[in-house]
């Protein structure tokens, strides 16, 4: 049947090529609709409990998305007329940023003080130009002693200051909204730099992070994809030694990518850095089928067959393994749908489309095109002899190899527990990304990017002014301030204390919480009425005046540390307050949980993929025994690689939680090809297990070696990504594939020989 099918393809070769091109173009049209997402929230499923908690908190108070201007005067002094004038200017201009709802800086900080019976509420810095040295010193003292400002908007050495802009994206079209803010802010930055050359200004905040996602993706697209193409082209050319076969394969790969991305476009999938790495993955995976087909074809021609017959024979022996490997690869990728992080589900689906596209093109377009194109190369596949020697070596040393490799694998696996979960989202971007550099600078000089927010609920309307409640809030803030991981805590209690002081003639003795609920409520009323546009208390107190938000700013710490801190805080609330216990919410907490959540969700997906892939193998190899044996070289590589990772790196996160499932479908291919050749030799040629191993090495060794080399090269290129998730995923996948190849060559054959014995059948 396969022969008749191939004959049919070859007869209608021109039609097949034209129809293939048209079909690819049609599907590829969808790629025009592809967009890069720019919202860190896409890493979380709608049901993610940490995301839900965070959204609730933001709906109760105000949004947390922000742009932070970090201003560093070159003379190291913030409190000079020139710098303050610039800060005031930036503050003023910042109200013009699209979707800005609030701007905070040292100049517009609402300072309160008493003057006889007047309560004066106003900007801390009104007219910087007219400030005397004494005034400047006074302003500095206020700022450095104000809990709201210190370590948040002013550094303790008064050398760096921030202008924080709260952005409320309407969320109607985030694709347009976030860039709109970034374009405006960057223009503002360049204007300000020109206007104030004596200052360094940097940009941080969640809006800038959102923007770093598409920027990292695009950078990868421009640098890594061409690099991967080049690497694959070189590998192919060295192996196939023919321009037309190399070119045809490259075209096939390109078409597969177009199919994958085009389908994604039609389905409305938004690109994220993980899913935007799909082209590189498709690129390296799509060549496998073509390589197997071409290698057999070239070997047949070398044996003396004409091209037509060589193609027919190659299709006959390779069609099923290619179908099988495409199926298992697709199953591996499809299992990513169980991931709790949608970008990885997208990556899996786009890759699946690419793999399916590659399969169809490999069995239609490729044979047709090969017959059309001239092929003048010396029909000789590189490395065939070497493979025969390698097979000989494996047969001879089978016992030693089996023992030593089993031992090595077991040792490596014992190191798996050395891995620690860690997802520091700032570190998702490497140093080549401006956002990362600026954020690192901000963290070491001004304030942190990591936060945890709590909504402490008094349980009764208006009870936010209740002294008992306020004391508990105060104690909680105080506890948090003492934790070593903490940079800053903002709490409404500081405002109450300041007001109490100002209402008692600025007497420092009154810097304490008001002792009656009425007094506190009336202070609040008075204070609220004195606040200017945008600087209200809505970000700290809910509408019912029942709950208040505590915002904790942290150093950049590991996931485990942040989870431990949050746990400690929860226990403190449980022990020291009545009914105020609540969980914290923030992007940092969301990312701290995502690794574990994702591993849990991926366990199910990986198990299903494993069972399905095993079933496919058992059915396809028509042998329960071989199906089971094949599991060993399929499962061990990932386990051994995680052990190796534990020794070398020791940190795993979101990206690595999907690697096992993804690579399962890929590494199984080599096993399938090897075992199917082995079985063919046993069943068709009645060879002994030793000779069957020699046969398999000779016939499929080169293709395995080359496809693995191409995969390793491709994923190594991905490991150069500016986006840490992709880089980690690339590196880990490379390691797994390398180990898999080693096990397929040196452990699987000895195992087969051991189980089958060395007798002739």
């Amino acid at each position: 049947m396969l022969v008749r099918y191939t004959e049919w393809i070859l007869r209608w070769r021109y039609l097949v090529v034209i129809v293939s091109i048209l079909a690819v173009m049609l599907i590829g049209k969808g790629a025009a609709d592809l967009e890069f997402t720019n919202d860190y929230r896409v890493f979380f499923s709608k049901e993610n409990p940490q995301l839900t908690a965070f959204e609730n908190l933001q709906d109760t108070y105000t949004k947390n998305d922000n742009v932070l201007f970090v201003v560093s005067p070159q003379d190291g002094k913030v409190f000079t007329p020139d710098t303050l004038l610039a800060i005031q200017d930036i503050t003023e201009q910042a109200w013009q940023i699209p979707f800005s709802i609030r701007v905070d800086s040292v100049t517009n900080f609402q300072h309160t003080y008493a003057e006889e019976d007047d309560l004066i509420v106003g900007d801390l810095v009104e007219e910087p130009g007219s400030l005397t040295l004494e005034d400047l010193q006074a302003v500095k003292v206020v700022a450095l002693n104000e809990p709201m400002l210190i370590n948040k908007l002013i550094s303790p050495d008064a050398a760096h200051t921030g202008v924080n802009v709260i952005i409320q994206l309407p969320g109607v079209n985030q694709m347009l909204e976030n860039p709109q803010v970034v374009v405006f802010v960057r223009q503002m930055l360049s204007d300000m730099k020109q206007k104030y050359p004596q200052m360094d200004i940097r940009l941080a905040g969640m809006v800038m992070m959102n923007n770093a996602f598409p920027e990292a993706s695009k950078r990868d697209g421009v640098t890594l994809i061409p690099m991967a193409f080049l690497a694959i082209a070189i590998v192919l050319f060295i192996l196939l030694r023919g321009i037309s076969s190399t070119l045809t394969t490259l075209v096939l790969v390109l078409f597969s990518i177009i199919v994958g991305m085009g389908t994604a476009g039609w389905l409305g999938i938004k690109l994220t850095p993980p899913s935007a790495s799909a082209p590189i993955i498709i690129l390296t995976i799509a060549i496998a089928g073509a390589v197997h087909l071409l290698v057999t074809m070239l070997q047949e021609i070398h044996k003396g067959a004409n091209k037509h017959d060589a193609i027919v024979e190659s299709m006959r022996v390779n069609f099923m393994p290619i179908l099988l490997t495409s199926l298992t690869t697709a199953l591996g990728f499809l299992s990513l749908n169980s991931s709790d992080a949608p970008p990885f589900a997208d990556l899996g689906n786009i890759s699946t489309f690419g793999v399916i596209g590659a399969f169809f093109l490999t069995v239609t377009f490729l044979p047709a095109a090969m017959l059309i194109l001239p092929n003048k190369a010396k029909y000789r596949v590189t490395g065939t002899h070497m493979m025969a020697d390698l097979g000989e070596f494996v047969v001879r040393r089978r016992k030693g190899l089996l023992l030593s490799l089993s031992l090595a694998v077991v040792i490596l696996i014992s190191f798996i527990p050395k891995n620690e979960l860690n997802d520091i989202f700032v570190n998702y971007f490497d140093d080549s990304v401006e956002f990362r550099r600026d954020t690192d600078f901000t963290t070491s000089h001004l304030t942190g990017t990591y936060t945890i927010a709590y909504s402490l609920d008094s349980g009764e309307e208006n009870a936010v002014s209740d002294p008992g409640f306020l004391q508990q809030v105060e104690a909680f803030s105080h506890w948090y301030r003492q934790q070593p991981e903490v940079i800053h805590v903002s709490s409404i209690t500081d405002t109450f204390k300041r007001l109490n002081k100002s209402m008692h003639g600025d007497d420092p003795a009154w810097y304490r919480l008001p002792d009656s609920r009425e007094l506190a409520a009336q202070y609040l009323l008075l204070y609220e009425m004195s606040l200017p546009y945008g600087l209200d208390l809505n970000n700290q107190i809910d509408v019912a005046k029942q709950a208040t938000r505590i915002n904790v700013t942290l150093k950049t710490i590991s996931s485990n540390q942040i989870l431990a801190l949050e746990e400690r805080a929860g226990q403190w609330l449980m022990k020291n307050t009545q009914g105020l216990h609540t969980e914290g919410a923030s992007p940092a907490l969301m990312f701290a949980h995502i690794g574990l959540r994702n591993i849990e969700s991926m366990l199910i997906g990986t198990t299903i993929a494993l069972v399905l892939i095993s079933l496919v193998l058992v059915v396809a190899l028509r042998s329960f025994k071989y199906g089971l044996i094949s599991l060993i070289p399929n499962l061990f590589p990932a386990a051994a690689a995680f052990g190796l990772w534990g020794i070398l790196v020791g940190e795993i996160g979101l990206a690595l939680s999907v690697v096992t499932a993804m690579t399962l479908g890929i590494v199984v291919d080599d096993t399938v090809h090897f075992i199917s050749k082995y079985i063919r030799a046993r069943r068709e040629n009645n060879l002994s297990s030793h000779d069957a191993v020699r046969y398999a090495f000779k016939n499929v060794g080169v293709a395995l070696w080359v496809t693995s080399a191409a995969l390793i090269a491709g994923f190594m290129i991905l490991s150069q990504s500016a986006f840490e998730l992709n880089a980690g995923m690339g590196l880990m996948t490379s390691i797994i594939i390398a180990i898999a190849l080693m096990l397929d060559f040196f452990m699987l054959p000895p195992l087969l020989m051991k189980i089958d014995g060395d007798d002739n059948r």
């Binding site: 509420v121 106003g122 009336q522 009323l525 009425m529 209200d536 809910d542 509408v543 019912a544 029942q546």
Partner: protein
């Protein structure tokens, strides 16, 4: 004062002279409308009203505030008003006295019963939220003609009646708005709707006036004012009850000393 007289002069001459074919600019027509609004609302002497505010956040949680307000009409300057808070309970008895001014900042005093002291609020800021609501102080304080400059935009139907659509631009430097677009009922010269644009000229809030009633055969007051903040999804409903006019209040009732006695 001079400016007001000039404005009234201008308005009168514009209205009276509408038969003249003198081309009226959009600015002149806008101002004329504002002056007419002001004119029709002149002469009520004083008023008292009970006020209920319902604040809602994005999730639909709500909270209620209640107060009473007395207003004394002042000719030649902004009105004086005294608000006494009844709810929430912990601010009960807090009283807020305002002397509105047309050009210079308003004078404001607050009596805090818990502290038993009158405090003058010295702040140039009138743009913050009033009692945490979506109304800022500048939205609910006495609307004097000179607080804005004006521009007539077009005629348009609103709620089935003819309206002028005018834009007004705050003259007050620290205002939270670049402009407001107001729909003015052509027959009664009362606002039906106002749309507020923030400092970057982006849509911020919409205020709708509902259930107008006429008092003393002249003065229109809406029973309900609904403010929606489009940026945060929060809203505030103001409802008024028991409007009384010409109740015989005098300057005496609006002095600093009266604050402590206010109940």
């Amino acid at each position: 004062m001079k400016k007001i007289i000039f404005n009234i002069f201008l308005a009168v001459s514009l209205l009276g002279g509408s038969l003249n074919v003198v081309a009226e600019t959009a600015e002149e027509k806008g101002l004329a409308i504002a002056v007419e609004i002001d004119k029709r609302d002149t002469g009520f002497k004083d008023s008292t009203v009970k006020l209920k505010m319902v604040l809602k956040n994005k999730q639909g949680r709500s909270s209620v505030r209640e107060l009473r307000t007395k207003t004394l009409e002042v000719t030649g300057d902004g009105d004086k008003s005294l608000s006494i808070f009844d709810k929430p309970r912990d601010v009960k008895g807090t009283a807020f006295l305002t002397y509105t001014h047309t050009i210079r900042p308003d004078d404001q005093w607050l009596y805090l019963p818990a502290l038993k002291r009158v405090k003058r609020i010295s702040s140039k800021n009138k743009s913050g939220p009033f009692m945490g609501s979506e109304f800022s102080y500048e939205d609910i304080s006495s609307q004097e003609v000179d607080k804005y400059t004006y521009k007539y935009i077009r005629d348009e139907d609103c709620n089935g009646v003819g309206c002028f659509v005018i834009e007004r631009y705050p003259t007050y430097k620290n205002s939270g708005y670049t402009r407001q677009v107001a729909w003015i009922n052509k027959q009664e010269y009362r606002p039906e709707k106002i749309v507020f644009y923030d400092r970057k000229n982006a849509l911020l809030k919409t205020l709708e006036y509902k259930d107008y009633k006429q008092y003393l055969n002249q003065y229109w007051r809406a029973d309900i004012m609904q403010m929606i903040n489009h940026q945060t999804g929060k809203s505030t409903d103001l409802s008024f009850q028991d409007y009384q006019f010409n109740t015989g209040l005098s300057e005496k009732n609006f002095s600093r000393n009266s604050l402590k006695r206010a109940r």
